[in-house]
Subunit: 253 residues, 2 copies
């Protein structure tokens, strides 16, 4: 169990709009959830500004220590969209117009009575050697270069790109989870949680407290790549909470 | 203008629940917004797991190059709450029980007919030399150690801690912003945006496209620390969009 290979990904969220607080990021959660299904664990996220140096440094740090690197944001047609240039510079490769991306943009705008202007052509630029990630929504593709995946910042377009990538990544066993909701103030069950986790190798228990209806409670999340170990741990935790006078209410409160 | 000192902060979000996708982070946006009001710019965010090494590395990287470091998460009473230990280790200082934090917990639990157990006492542990950040909600304080601010992960508790810190940080002029919403496909105004930004020193223009009601549009966000420069840039951008046949609709679409 513990010696099984764990595949990891880093995620780089690029955009002044996240760091200014204007936009609430939604890509971290959606990419994390999607990666779990691919058997890949999101190990670290960084959020940086629309800045060549900051993007390049984060790209090189995250790709060096993860199996995969995902980025979101900065692939549109305007002057603040510098992701492709920054990643190409970080990798020491040039930037080229991808013929398929140009063709996709031409088809997209022709169908809408427009044409591919210089600004629109920016969206067909890729680091040399890259492939495209399909995007039926806007004509502007995502980009794959080896283990680097460059996605749109707009969450529903990123979703479509993830769908196009589903099943394409080599990964390990998906990380499974079970949630147990309970009206237990977490400080009263801290030792119980620690002992339960210690008794079940390959399982981690997270504790997420809340106050609802005027009462303290917590959701306990058990995570494991082994379904049998997960169920055994969940069952044991339920029994221990019951014994402590704090019966499990359901899967999640 | 351009030589004025810019104060920056790094933010470290700590928690397996964010990296697993279970929990949608809300602290990045709220802390970014709050920092802007204090005249401090959020320069970088990292999200790491509940792991001593990962937390320590990120703490040292972010505090070295920012005026301030904020962290969220991992300060509760359970075994997965290791933020205080990880930060103390990263700084090379010990961990102590803060007498005021112990007193606050005792008062909090006494008022609720409970007592301060060993698990609850974990919430009074701080890196040596730290002060407390008030938290009327739960009795468990935030922690300030020089330029490091250790906040709760639960967003509404983090909010209370930010309120307690409002006006306490030395900062520069707040970053101001104006948003202009327009039914302009951003690829048609890319050059217009670039030229407008270039004509207004000290202003940045971000372009955030959307598709609504079956049409392409974009919100253009102008940011500056100088109110006069901001208004002049916004007015110029509005005039250029009008001239291009894509009049501004309002502050934001």
């Amino acid at each position: 169990m513990t010696s099984e290979r764990i595949w990891t990904a880093g995620l780089l969220v690029i955009g002044d709009e996240i760091l200014s607080g204007r936009t609430q990021d939604r890509n971290i959660a959606q990419i994390a959830t999607w990666l779990n299904l691919q058997g890949v664990r999101l190990a670290e996220v960084r959020v940086v500004a629309d800045d060549m140096g900051a993007i390049g440094e984060a790209v090189n740090a995250l790709r060096a220590r993860n199996d995969y690197l995902f980025t979101t944001g900065g692939i549109g047609p305007t002057h603040d969209d510098i992701t492709v240039d920054a990643i190409a510079a970080a990798l020491g490769v040039g930037v080229v117009v991808h013929p398929k991306a140009r063709a996709a943009l031409e088809a997209y705008y022709a169908a809408r009575g427009g044409s591919v202007t210089e600004a629109r052509l920016r969206m067909a630029r890729v680091p040399e050697g890259a492939e495209l990630i399909e995007n039926k929504m806007s004509g502007a593709p995502g980009i794959r270069l080896n283990n680097i995946f460059i996605l749109a910042g707009v969450p529903h377009i990123a979703t479509l790109m993830l769908e196009a990538l589903s099943g394409q990544l080599e990964g390990g066993r998906p990380l499974l989870s079970r949630t147990i909701g309970c009206w237990a103030p977490e400080s009263e069950v801290a030792e119980l949680l620690r002992a339960t986790e210690a008794a079940h190798e390959g399982c981690q228990i997270g504790s997420y407290p809340f106050y609802k209806e005027g009462k303290a409670g917590a959701n306990f999340v058990i995570r494991s790549t082994d379904e049998g170990a997960l169920e055994a741990c969940a069952s044991d935790l339920g029994a221990r909470l019951q014994e402590a006078g704090m019966p499990v209410v359901g899967e999640e409160i």
